[in-house]
Protein backbone atom coordinates (compact mmCIF):
# COMPACT_ATOMS: atom_id res chain seq x y z
CA UNK A 1 0.00 0.00 0.00
CA UNK A 2 1.25 3.43 -0.86
CA UNK A 3 1.36 5.97 1.93
CA UNK A 4 0.19 9.31 0.62
CA UNK A 5 2.01 12.24 2.24
CA UNK A 6 1.26 15.90 1.65
CA UNK A 7 3.82 18.51 2.70
CA UNK A 8 2.69 22.13 3.10
CA UNK A 9 5.20 24.59 1.70
CA UNK A 10 5.26 28.36 1.55
CA UNK A 11 7.17 30.70 -0.73
CA UNK A 12 8.91 33.40 1.34
CA UNK A 13 11.44 36.19 0.77
CA UNK A 14 14.92 34.75 1.26
CA UNK A 15 15.61 35.15 5.00
CA UNK A 16 19.31 35.50 4.17
CA UNK A 17 18.55 38.78 2.39
CA UNK A 18 21.08 41.29 3.75
CA UNK A 19 19.43 43.72 6.23
CA UNK A 20 20.48 46.64 4.00
CA UNK A 21 18.19 45.25 1.27
CA UNK A 22 15.22 44.76 3.58
CA UNK A 23 12.82 47.60 2.78
CA UNK A 24 9.19 48.17 3.51
CA UNK A 25 6.72 49.97 1.26
CA UNK A 26 4.72 51.80 3.91
CA UNK A 27 2.04 52.85 1.41
CA UNK A 28 1.01 49.20 0.88
CA UNK A 29 2.31 47.73 4.15
CA UNK A 30 4.37 45.16 2.28
CA UNK A 31 8.01 44.22 1.83
CA UNK A 32 9.70 45.31 -1.38
CA UNK A 33 11.05 42.28 -3.22
CA UNK A 34 14.80 42.63 -2.71
CA UNK A 35 16.74 43.29 -5.92
CA UNK A 36 18.29 40.16 -7.31
CA UNK A 37 17.43 37.99 -4.30
CA UNK A 38 14.79 35.48 -5.47
CA UNK A 39 12.25 34.05 -3.04
CA UNK A 40 12.75 30.59 -1.56
CA UNK A 41 10.66 27.82 -0.07
CA UNK A 42 10.41 28.43 3.69
CA UNK A 43 13.39 26.57 5.16
CA UNK A 44 11.35 24.90 7.90
CA UNK A 45 9.02 23.45 5.28
CA UNK A 46 12.05 21.80 3.68
CA UNK A 47 12.58 20.03 7.02
CA UNK A 48 9.12 18.54 6.48
CA UNK A 49 10.04 17.50 2.92
CA UNK A 50 13.17 15.91 4.36
CA UNK A 51 11.05 14.00 6.90
CA UNK A 52 8.93 12.55 4.10
CA UNK A 53 12.01 11.58 2.08
CA UNK A 54 13.54 9.87 5.11
CA UNK A 55 10.45 7.63 5.32
CA UNK A 56 11.09 6.63 1.70
CA UNK A 57 14.78 6.02 2.50
CA UNK A 58 13.67 3.76 5.35
CA UNK A 59 11.90 1.54 2.83
CA UNK A 60 8.30 2.79 2.97
CA UNK A 61 6.30 3.04 -0.24
CA UNK A 62 5.37 6.74 -0.18
CA UNK A 63 3.99 9.27 -2.60
CA UNK A 64 5.02 12.82 -1.65
CA UNK A 65 2.88 15.77 -2.76
CA UNK A 66 3.94 19.34 -2.01
CA UNK A 67 1.04 21.78 -1.59
CA UNK A 68 1.20 25.56 -1.51
CA UNK A 69 -1.26 28.44 -1.67
CA UNK A 70 -0.13 31.88 -2.78
CA UNK A 71 0.28 34.44 -5.52
CA UNK A 72 3.18 35.14 -7.83
CA UNK A 73 4.90 31.78 -7.47
CA UNK A 74 8.48 31.62 -8.69
CA UNK A 75 8.81 28.16 -10.19
CA UNK A 76 12.56 27.83 -9.61
CA UNK A 77 11.92 28.23 -5.91
CA UNK A 78 8.79 26.11 -5.66
CA UNK A 79 10.36 23.18 -7.54
CA UNK A 80 13.12 22.70 -4.99
CA UNK A 81 11.14 20.05 -3.04
CA UNK A 82 10.64 18.17 -6.34
CA UNK A 83 14.38 18.36 -6.98
CA UNK A 84 14.95 16.93 -3.48
CA UNK A 85 12.76 13.96 -4.43
CA UNK A 86 9.08 14.84 -3.90
CA UNK A 87 6.71 13.44 -6.53
CA UNK A 88 4.09 16.11 -7.16
CA UNK A 89 3.62 19.85 -6.77
CA UNK A 90 0.10 21.22 -6.32
CA UNK A 91 -0.30 25.00 -6.31
CA UNK A 92 -3.35 27.03 -5.40
CA UNK A 93 -2.64 30.27 -7.18
CA UNK A 94 -4.77 33.38 -7.05
CA UNK A 95 -3.83 37.02 -6.99
CA UNK A 96 -6.15 37.61 -4.01
CA UNK A 97 -4.13 35.16 -1.88
CA UNK A 98 -1.52 37.82 -1.18
CA UNK A 99 -4.02 39.57 1.06
CA UNK A 100 -5.55 36.85 3.20
CA UNK A 101 -4.51 35.81 6.67
CA UNK A 102 -3.91 32.39 8.14
CA UNK A 103 -7.62 31.74 8.79
CA UNK A 104 -8.22 31.96 5.03
CA UNK A 105 -5.09 29.99 4.15
CA UNK A 106 -6.17 27.14 6.42
CA UNK A 107 -9.62 26.95 4.81
CA UNK A 108 -8.13 26.83 1.31
CA UNK A 109 -5.53 24.22 2.17
CA UNK A 110 -8.15 22.06 3.89
CA UNK A 111 -10.36 22.21 0.81
CA UNK A 112 -7.44 21.33 -1.48
CA UNK A 113 -6.45 18.39 0.72
CA UNK A 114 -10.02 17.09 0.72
CA UNK A 115 -10.16 17.39 -3.07
CA UNK A 116 -6.76 15.85 -3.73
CA UNK A 117 -6.74 13.36 -0.84
CA UNK A 118 -7.18 11.23 1.08
CA UNK A 119 -3.76 11.54 2.68
CA UNK A 120 -2.18 9.47 5.44
CA UNK A 121 0.21 12.13 6.68
CA UNK A 122 -0.01 15.91 6.50
CA UNK A 123 3.32 17.55 7.28
CA UNK A 124 4.31 21.17 7.80
CA UNK A 125 7.40 23.04 9.01
CA UNK A 126 7.50 24.40 12.54
CA UNK A 127 7.07 27.99 11.40
CA UNK A 128 7.42 30.38 8.47
CA UNK A 129 10.39 32.71 8.22
CA UNK A 130 8.39 35.68 6.92
CA UNK A 131 5.46 36.25 9.27
CA UNK A 132 7.04 33.97 11.87
CA UNK A 133 3.75 32.27 12.43
CA UNK A 134 3.54 28.63 13.19
CA UNK A 135 -0.12 28.01 13.17
CA UNK A 136 -1.33 27.17 9.65
CA UNK A 137 -0.50 23.50 10.10
CA UNK A 138 -1.95 23.48 13.63
CA UNK A 139 -5.12 25.19 12.40
CA UNK A 140 -5.46 22.73 9.53
CA UNK A 141 -5.63 19.81 11.97
CA UNK A 142 -8.49 21.53 13.81
CA UNK A 143 -10.42 22.48 10.69
CA UNK A 144 -10.07 18.92 9.33
CA UNK A 145 -10.76 17.33 12.73
CA UNK A 146 -7.52 15.33 12.68
CA UNK A 147 -5.07 14.55 15.48
CA UNK A 148 -2.08 16.85 15.70
CA UNK A 149 1.45 16.45 17.02
CA UNK A 150 3.79 19.44 16.89
CA UNK A 151 7.60 19.69 16.91
CA UNK A 152 8.31 16.18 15.63
CA UNK A 153 12.01 15.34 15.45
CA UNK A 154 11.68 11.67 14.47
CA UNK A 155 8.96 9.56 12.87
CA UNK A 156 8.46 5.94 11.93
CA UNK A 157 5.55 4.47 9.99
CA UNK A 158 3.68 1.44 11.22
CA UNK A 159 0.79 -0.08 9.25
CA UNK A 160 -1.94 2.10 10.77
CA UNK A 161 -0.09 4.42 13.13
CA UNK A 162 3.03 6.53 13.44
CA UNK A 163 5.64 6.44 16.21
CA UNK A 164 6.92 9.94 16.96
CA UNK A 165 9.43 11.84 19.02
CA UNK A 166 8.33 15.33 19.99
CA UNK A 167 10.98 17.83 21.14
CA UNK A 168 10.53 19.37 24.59
CA UNK A 169 12.96 21.77 26.29
CA UNK A 170 15.07 19.12 27.98
CA UNK A 171 14.42 15.93 26.07
CA UNK A 172 11.59 14.43 24.06
CA UNK A 173 8.20 12.78 24.36
CA UNK A 174 7.42 9.44 22.74
CA UNK A 175 4.03 9.63 21.03
CA UNK A 176 1.85 7.15 19.14
CA UNK A 177 -0.66 8.63 16.73
CA UNK A 178 -3.25 7.08 14.46
CA UNK A 179 -3.33 7.73 10.71
CA UNK A 180 -4.30 10.13 9.23
CA UNK A 181 -2.46 12.66 11.36
CA UNK A 182 -1.12 16.21 11.03
CA UNK A 183 2.48 16.82 12.13
CA UNK A 184 4.75 19.84 12.34
CA UNK A 185 8.38 18.91 11.82
CA UNK A 186 11.19 20.66 13.64
CA UNK A 187 14.72 21.43 12.44
CA UNK A 188 16.15 18.92 14.94
CA UNK A 189 15.09 16.26 12.41
CA UNK A 190 18.13 17.18 10.35
CA UNK A 191 19.22 19.42 7.52
CA UNK A 192 17.19 19.14 4.32
CA UNK A 193 19.18 17.30 1.66
CA UNK A 194 20.64 19.14 -1.33
CA UNK A 195 19.04 18.27 -4.67
CA UNK A 196 21.34 16.24 -6.91
CA UNK A 197 21.65 16.76 -10.66
CA UNK A 198 19.27 13.93 -11.47
CA UNK A 199 16.68 15.37 -9.10
CA UNK A 200 17.01 18.81 -10.66
CA UNK A 201 16.57 17.35 -14.17
CA UNK A 202 13.48 15.41 -13.11
CA UNK A 203 12.00 18.44 -11.39
CA UNK A 204 12.52 20.60 -14.46
CA UNK A 205 10.35 18.21 -16.50
CA UNK A 206 7.50 18.12 -13.95
CA UNK A 207 4.65 20.55 -14.27
CA UNK A 208 2.81 21.80 -11.20
CA UNK A 209 -0.88 20.96 -10.95
CA UNK A 210 -2.81 24.19 -10.46
CA UNK A 211 -6.04 24.66 -8.48
CA UNK A 212 -7.91 27.93 -8.63
CA UNK A 213 -10.07 29.26 -5.80
CA UNK A 214 -13.11 28.48 -7.94
CA UNK A 215 -11.96 24.82 -8.29
CA UNK A 216 -12.10 24.65 -4.50
CA UNK A 217 -15.48 26.34 -4.28
CA UNK A 218 -14.28 29.67 -2.89
CA UNK A 219 -14.64 33.23 -3.99
CA UNK A 220 -12.19 35.76 -2.58
CA UNK A 221 -14.93 37.36 -0.47
CA UNK A 222 -15.17 34.14 1.60
CA UNK A 223 -11.70 34.72 2.96
CA UNK A 224 -11.88 38.10 4.66
CA UNK A 225 -8.98 38.45 7.11
CA UNK A 226 -9.77 38.47 10.83
CA UNK A 227 -6.70 40.56 11.54
CA UNK A 228 -6.46 43.84 9.72
CA UNK A 229 -2.87 44.94 9.10
CA UNK A 230 -2.70 48.63 10.02
CA UNK A 231 1.01 49.26 9.87
CA UNK A 232 4.21 47.44 8.92
CA UNK A 233 7.45 49.17 9.85
CA UNK A 234 11.11 48.76 10.71
CA UNK A 235 11.57 49.52 14.42
CA UNK A 236 13.96 52.29 15.34
CA UNK A 237 16.89 50.97 17.26
CA UNK A 238 17.46 53.39 20.11
CA UNK A 239 20.28 51.48 21.68
CA UNK A 240 23.64 53.14 21.59
CA UNK A 241 26.39 50.67 22.23
CA UNK A 242 29.16 51.70 24.61
CA UNK A 243 32.35 50.22 23.20
CA UNK A 244 35.02 49.42 25.75
CA UNK A 245 38.55 50.00 24.45
CA UNK A 246 41.44 49.07 26.70
CA UNK A 247 45.16 49.29 25.95
CA UNK A 248 44.98 45.96 24.18
CA UNK A 249 42.41 43.18 23.78
CA UNK A 250 43.07 41.49 27.16
CA UNK A 251 42.79 44.88 28.85
CA UNK A 252 39.48 45.52 27.04
CA UNK A 253 38.17 42.28 28.54
CA UNK A 254 39.19 43.42 32.02
CA UNK A 255 37.72 46.91 31.55
CA UNK A 256 34.46 45.39 30.29
CA UNK A 257 34.09 43.37 33.49
CA UNK A 258 34.81 46.43 35.64
CA UNK A 259 32.30 48.51 33.68
CA UNK A 260 29.59 45.86 34.16
CA UNK A 261 30.32 45.85 37.88
CA UNK A 262 30.09 49.65 37.96
CA UNK A 263 26.62 49.36 36.36
CA UNK A 264 25.77 46.70 39.00
CA UNK A 265 25.04 44.24 36.22
CA UNK A 266 27.36 41.57 37.67
Amino acid sequence: MTFRIVVLAKQVPDPETPPSQFKIDESTNSVFPPNGVPPVVNGFDLNAVEAALQLRDAGADVEITVLSAGSEFVMDAMKKPLAMGADRLVLIEDSSLGNIDSSGTVKILAAAIEKDGPYDLILGGRQASDWDQAHVTLGLAEVMGLPLVSLVQKLELNSDSVALQRVIPDGYQVIEAPIPVVLTVTNELGEPRYPNLRGIMQASRKKPEIFTLADLGFSSGDLAPKLELKKLYVPESNRQVELIEGEDEPDSGKQLALRLREEKLI
Binding site: F22, G139, G171, K254
Partner: protein, 319 residues
Protein backbone atom coordinates in the same frame (compact mmCIF):
# COMPACT_ATOMS: atom_id res chain seq x y z
CA UNK B 1 -15.17 46.87 29.93
CA UNK B 2 -12.64 44.41 28.57
CA UNK B 3 -13.29 40.90 29.81
CA UNK B 4 -10.11 38.84 29.67
CA UNK B 5 -9.47 35.13 30.15
CA UNK B 6 -5.81 34.59 30.96
CA UNK B 7 -4.50 31.04 30.74
CA UNK B 8 -1.78 30.67 33.37
CA UNK B 9 1.26 28.44 33.40
CA UNK B 10 3.44 27.23 36.24
CA UNK B 11 7.18 27.42 36.78
CA UNK B 12 9.44 24.54 37.86
CA UNK B 13 8.21 24.87 41.49
CA UNK B 14 4.54 24.73 40.50
CA UNK B 15 4.01 28.41 41.27
CA UNK B 16 2.63 30.89 38.74
CA UNK B 17 5.32 31.54 36.13
CA UNK B 18 7.04 34.87 35.55
CA UNK B 19 5.67 34.91 31.99
CA UNK B 20 2.14 34.58 33.35
CA UNK B 21 2.76 37.44 35.82
CA UNK B 22 3.87 39.53 32.83
CA UNK B 23 0.66 38.56 31.02
CA UNK B 24 -1.31 39.75 34.07
CA UNK B 25 0.45 43.12 33.73
CA UNK B 26 -0.45 43.20 30.02
CA UNK B 27 -4.09 42.41 30.84
CA UNK B 28 -4.21 45.10 33.56
CA UNK B 29 -2.81 47.66 31.10
CA UNK B 30 -6.03 47.49 29.06
CA UNK B 31 -8.74 49.93 29.99
CA UNK B 32 -11.27 48.77 32.58
CA UNK B 33 -10.17 45.14 32.42
CA UNK B 34 -11.82 42.28 34.29
CA UNK B 35 -9.42 39.36 34.42
CA UNK B 36 -10.22 35.69 34.99
CA UNK B 37 -7.21 33.39 35.27
CA UNK B 38 -7.53 29.73 34.28
CA UNK B 39 -4.95 27.31 35.66
CA UNK B 40 -4.61 23.54 35.42
CA UNK B 41 -4.42 21.84 38.80
CA UNK B 42 -5.06 23.29 42.26
CA UNK B 43 -4.75 27.00 42.94
CA UNK B 44 -1.41 27.86 44.44
CA UNK B 45 0.04 30.19 47.03
CA UNK B 46 1.19 32.70 44.43
CA UNK B 47 -2.35 32.84 43.04
CA UNK B 48 -4.08 33.96 46.24
CA UNK B 49 -2.79 37.53 45.97
CA UNK B 50 -2.79 37.82 42.18
CA UNK B 51 -4.10 41.17 40.94
CA UNK B 52 -7.09 39.66 39.12
CA UNK B 53 -10.80 39.24 39.77
CA UNK B 54 -11.14 35.47 39.60
CA UNK B 55 -9.14 32.25 39.36
CA UNK B 56 -10.71 29.19 37.77
CA UNK B 57 -9.00 25.86 38.36
CA UNK B 58 -9.14 23.14 35.72
CA UNK B 59 -8.57 19.48 36.51
CA UNK B 60 -5.00 18.43 35.70
CA UNK B 61 -4.26 16.56 32.52
CA UNK B 62 -2.86 13.02 32.48
CA UNK B 63 0.54 11.96 31.20
CA UNK B 64 -0.94 10.45 28.01
CA UNK B 65 -1.96 13.95 26.89
CA UNK B 66 1.43 15.55 27.64
CA UNK B 67 2.52 17.75 24.76
CA UNK B 68 -0.65 16.97 22.78
CA UNK B 69 -2.95 19.20 24.83
CA UNK B 70 -6.28 17.70 23.74
CA UNK B 71 -7.72 18.23 27.21
CA UNK B 72 -6.61 21.84 27.69
CA UNK B 73 -7.89 22.72 24.21
CA UNK B 74 -11.25 21.18 25.03
CA UNK B 75 -11.57 22.63 28.55
CA UNK B 76 -10.58 26.16 27.61
CA UNK B 77 -12.89 26.09 24.58
CA UNK B 78 -15.73 25.22 26.97
CA UNK B 79 -14.67 27.93 29.41
CA UNK B 80 -14.67 30.53 26.62
CA UNK B 81 -18.26 29.62 25.70
CA UNK B 82 -19.22 30.01 29.34
CA UNK B 83 -17.68 33.39 30.11
CA UNK B 84 -17.57 35.04 26.64
CA UNK B 85 -14.33 37.00 27.06
CA UNK B 86 -13.24 39.74 24.65
CA UNK B 87 -9.65 38.54 24.83
CA UNK B 88 -8.03 35.21 25.66
CA UNK B 89 -4.41 35.65 26.62
CA UNK B 90 -1.75 32.92 26.53
CA UNK B 91 2.01 32.99 26.93
CA UNK B 92 3.92 32.29 23.76
CA UNK B 93 5.14 29.02 25.20
CA UNK B 94 4.86 25.54 23.74
CA UNK B 95 1.55 25.11 25.61
CA UNK B 96 0.19 28.54 24.69
CA UNK B 97 1.23 28.33 21.04
CA UNK B 98 -0.40 24.95 20.49
CA UNK B 99 -3.53 25.36 22.63
CA UNK B 100 -4.11 28.95 21.49
CA UNK B 101 -3.88 28.05 17.80
CA UNK B 102 -5.97 24.89 18.17
CA UNK B 103 -8.88 26.45 19.99
CA UNK B 104 -8.85 29.55 17.76
CA UNK B 105 -9.12 27.49 14.58
CA UNK B 106 -11.55 25.03 16.18
CA UNK B 107 -14.03 27.85 16.81
CA UNK B 108 -12.97 30.20 13.97
CA UNK B 109 -11.73 32.95 16.32
CA UNK B 110 -9.10 35.56 15.40
CA UNK B 111 -5.60 34.48 16.44
CA UNK B 112 -2.49 36.64 16.87
CA UNK B 113 0.70 34.90 17.98
CA UNK B 114 3.84 36.17 19.69
CA UNK B 115 2.62 39.71 20.40
CA UNK B 116 4.75 42.26 22.22
CA UNK B 117 2.05 44.90 22.75
CA UNK B 118 -1.71 44.90 23.21
CA UNK B 119 -3.95 47.94 23.50
CA UNK B 120 -7.64 48.75 23.43
CA UNK B 121 -9.06 50.71 20.52
CA UNK B 122 -12.50 52.14 19.93
CA UNK B 123 -13.57 49.15 17.86
CA UNK B 124 -11.62 46.35 19.47
CA UNK B 125 -8.00 45.50 20.09
CA UNK B 126 -4.72 46.46 18.55
CA UNK B 127 -1.75 44.07 18.73
CA UNK B 128 1.87 44.42 17.61
CA UNK B 129 4.10 41.50 16.71
CA UNK B 130 7.60 41.12 15.28
CA UNK B 131 7.72 39.66 11.75
CA UNK B 132 10.47 38.71 9.28
CA UNK B 133 12.63 37.39 12.10
CA UNK B 134 12.36 40.67 14.00
CA UNK B 135 13.39 42.87 11.05
CA UNK B 136 9.96 44.53 11.10
CA UNK B 137 6.98 45.07 13.38
CA UNK B 138 3.38 44.60 12.27
CA UNK B 139 0.44 46.28 13.96
CA UNK B 140 -2.97 44.65 13.54
CA UNK B 141 -6.48 45.57 14.52
CA UNK B 142 -8.83 42.79 15.60
CA UNK B 143 -12.52 43.63 15.55
CA UNK B 144 -14.07 40.20 16.21
CA UNK B 145 -14.30 38.66 19.67
CA UNK B 146 -12.91 36.77 21.33
CA UNK B 147 -9.39 37.49 20.10
CA UNK B 148 -6.91 34.74 20.97
CA UNK B 149 -3.46 36.24 21.63
CA UNK B 150 -0.13 34.75 22.70
CA UNK B 151 2.28 37.11 24.41
CA UNK B 152 6.07 37.02 24.08
CA UNK B 153 8.00 36.56 27.34
CA UNK B 154 9.65 39.75 28.54
CA UNK B 155 7.37 42.03 26.52
CA UNK B 156 5.82 43.40 29.72
CA UNK B 157 7.38 43.97 33.13
CA UNK B 158 5.98 41.90 35.98
CA UNK B 159 3.46 44.02 37.89
CA UNK B 160 3.61 44.72 41.62
CA UNK B 161 -0.16 45.06 42.19
CA UNK B 162 -1.87 42.54 44.40
CA UNK B 163 -5.49 41.49 44.73
CA UNK B 164 -7.72 38.90 46.33
CA UNK B 165 -9.34 36.86 43.58
CA UNK B 166 -12.32 34.57 44.04
CA UNK B 167 -11.24 30.97 43.41
CA UNK B 168 -13.59 28.53 41.70
CA UNK B 169 -13.22 25.09 40.19
CA UNK B 170 -14.35 24.64 36.60
CA UNK B 171 -15.85 21.23 36.07
CA UNK B 172 -15.63 20.27 32.44
CA UNK B 173 -18.47 18.06 31.22
CA UNK B 174 -15.89 15.28 31.13
CA UNK B 175 -16.47 14.36 27.50
CA UNK B 176 -12.96 15.35 26.42
CA UNK B 177 -12.66 14.82 22.72
CA UNK B 178 -9.30 13.16 22.37
CA UNK B 179 -8.02 13.12 18.82
CA UNK B 180 -6.24 9.79 19.26
CA UNK B 181 -2.58 10.67 19.76
CA UNK B 182 -1.09 9.37 23.02
CA UNK B 183 2.15 10.15 24.81
CA UNK B 184 3.66 6.92 26.08
CA UNK B 185 6.93 8.14 27.56
CA UNK B 186 9.00 11.22 28.32
CA UNK B 187 12.74 10.97 27.93
CA UNK B 188 14.79 13.55 29.82
CA UNK B 189 18.15 14.52 28.43
CA UNK B 190 19.80 15.46 31.68
CA UNK B 191 21.46 18.84 31.98
CA UNK B 192 23.26 20.35 34.89
CA UNK B 193 22.79 23.80 36.30
CA UNK B 194 20.30 26.58 35.74
CA UNK B 195 17.64 26.32 33.05
CA UNK B 196 18.40 28.61 30.13
CA UNK B 197 14.91 30.12 30.20
CA UNK B 198 15.17 30.93 33.92
CA UNK B 199 18.76 32.19 34.00
CA UNK B 200 19.61 35.72 35.05
CA UNK B 201 22.87 35.48 33.14
CA UNK B 202 23.27 33.82 29.77
CA UNK B 203 26.62 33.35 28.04
CA UNK B 204 26.10 32.44 24.39
CA UNK B 205 28.55 31.41 21.69
CA UNK B 206 28.24 31.55 17.94
CA UNK B 207 29.98 30.80 14.69
CA UNK B 208 32.91 33.01 15.66
CA UNK B 209 33.99 30.48 18.31
CA UNK B 210 35.18 28.23 15.49
CA UNK B 211 34.56 24.89 17.22
CA UNK B 212 33.14 23.07 20.23
CA UNK B 213 36.12 23.52 22.61
CA UNK B 214 35.58 27.21 23.49
CA UNK B 215 32.21 26.33 25.04
CA UNK B 216 34.12 25.04 28.08
CA UNK B 217 35.29 28.62 28.67
CA UNK B 218 31.70 29.85 28.29
CA UNK B 219 30.58 27.19 30.77
CA UNK B 220 33.17 28.37 33.25
CA UNK B 221 31.95 31.97 32.95
CA UNK B 222 28.31 30.89 33.29
CA UNK B 223 29.18 28.90 36.42
CA UNK B 224 30.87 31.89 38.05
CA UNK B 225 27.86 34.09 37.28
CA UNK B 226 25.36 31.42 38.31
CA UNK B 227 23.91 31.48 34.80
CA UNK B 228 23.49 29.24 31.80
CA UNK B 229 25.16 28.69 28.45
CA UNK B 230 23.37 29.32 25.16
CA UNK B 231 24.30 29.22 21.49
CA UNK B 232 23.36 30.57 18.11
CA UNK B 233 21.77 28.41 15.46
CA UNK B 234 25.03 28.39 13.48
CA UNK B 235 26.91 26.84 16.42
CA UNK B 236 24.17 24.23 16.96
CA UNK B 237 23.86 23.35 13.28
CA UNK B 238 27.65 22.93 13.13
CA UNK B 239 27.28 20.29 15.84
CA UNK B 240 29.44 22.16 18.39
CA UNK B 241 26.68 22.07 20.99
CA UNK B 242 23.28 20.41 21.28
CA UNK B 243 20.23 22.08 19.74
CA UNK B 244 18.62 22.32 23.19
CA UNK B 245 21.03 25.21 23.91
CA UNK B 246 19.88 27.23 20.91
CA UNK B 247 18.62 30.78 21.52
CA UNK B 248 16.51 32.41 18.81
CA UNK B 249 13.44 32.17 16.72
CA UNK B 250 13.68 28.38 16.42
CA UNK B 251 15.29 27.87 19.80
CA UNK B 252 14.60 29.28 23.21
CA UNK B 253 13.56 32.77 24.18
CA UNK B 254 15.54 34.10 27.11
CA UNK B 255 15.23 37.30 29.11
CA UNK B 256 18.16 37.46 31.52
CA UNK B 257 19.54 40.56 33.19
CA UNK B 258 22.74 40.17 31.18
CA UNK B 259 23.16 38.35 27.88
CA UNK B 260 26.79 37.92 26.90
CA UNK B 261 27.17 37.14 23.19
CA UNK B 262 30.57 35.82 22.15
CA UNK B 263 31.35 35.45 18.44
CA UNK B 264 27.69 36.00 17.53
CA UNK B 265 26.92 38.27 14.59
CA UNK B 266 23.39 39.01 15.78
CA UNK B 267 21.23 37.87 12.87
CA UNK B 268 17.65 38.92 13.46
CA UNK B 269 16.50 35.33 13.97
CA UNK B 270 18.95 35.05 16.89
CA UNK B 271 18.08 38.46 18.34
CA UNK B 272 14.39 37.60 18.46
CA UNK B 273 15.28 35.06 21.18
CA UNK B 274 17.30 37.43 23.37
CA UNK B 275 16.28 41.00 22.59
CA UNK B 276 14.26 41.33 25.78
CA UNK B 277 17.41 40.86 27.89
CA UNK B 278 18.04 43.85 30.16
CA UNK B 279 21.55 44.32 28.82
CA UNK B 280 23.29 42.64 25.91
CA UNK B 281 27.07 42.52 26.05
CA UNK B 282 28.86 41.67 22.81
CA UNK B 283 32.36 40.43 22.11
CA UNK B 284 32.99 40.18 18.38
CA UNK B 285 35.91 40.95 16.13
CA UNK B 286 33.71 42.50 13.43
CA UNK B 287 32.73 45.96 14.60
CA UNK B 288 30.12 46.23 11.83
CA UNK B 289 28.17 43.16 12.88
CA UNK B 290 24.54 43.59 13.81
CA UNK B 291 25.07 42.53 17.44
CA UNK B 292 26.61 45.95 18.20
CA UNK B 293 23.38 47.65 17.09
CA UNK B 294 21.52 45.74 19.81
CA UNK B 295 24.16 45.64 22.53
CA UNK B 296 24.55 48.05 25.45
CA UNK B 297 28.22 47.24 26.02
CA UNK B 298 30.70 45.75 23.63
CA UNK B 299 34.29 44.97 22.85
CA UNK B 300 35.43 44.81 19.25
CA UNK B 301 38.15 42.22 19.38
CA UNK B 302 39.22 38.60 19.18
CA UNK B 303 37.34 36.63 21.85
CA UNK B 304 40.41 34.41 22.35
CA UNK B 305 42.25 37.45 23.72
CA UNK B 306 39.31 39.29 25.33
CA UNK B 307 37.40 36.51 27.06
CA UNK B 308 40.12 35.02 29.33
CA UNK B 309 40.87 38.38 30.98
CA UNK B 310 37.15 39.18 31.19
CA UNK B 311 36.60 35.85 32.91
CA UNK B 312 39.52 36.31 35.28
CA UNK B 313 38.29 39.79 36.27
CA UNK B 314 34.71 38.55 36.80
CA UNK B 315 36.08 35.73 38.97
CA UNK B 316 38.01 38.24 41.11
CA UNK B 317 34.95 40.50 41.43
CA UNK B 318 32.75 37.60 42.47
CA UNK B 319 35.33 36.16 44.92
Amino acid sequence: MTSILLVAERDGQGEISQSTLQAVAAAKSLSDSQVTVAIEGDAVKSGASLAVEKIVTLSPTDSGDAGIYDKATYDITSLISLINPDLVLFNKSDFGSVVGARLAFRSDYAFAADCIEISSTVTGLSVTRPVYGGSALAEFEIASTPAIVTLRAGAYETGTDTGSPIIEAFNSDGSVVGQGATTTDTVAEARDGVRLEDANFVVSGGRGLGGPEPFSLLNELADILGGAVGASRAACDAGWIDHSYQVGLTGKSVNPDVYIAVGISGASQHMSGCSSSRAIVAINKDGDSNIFKEARFGVVGDWEKVLPSFLATVRDLKA
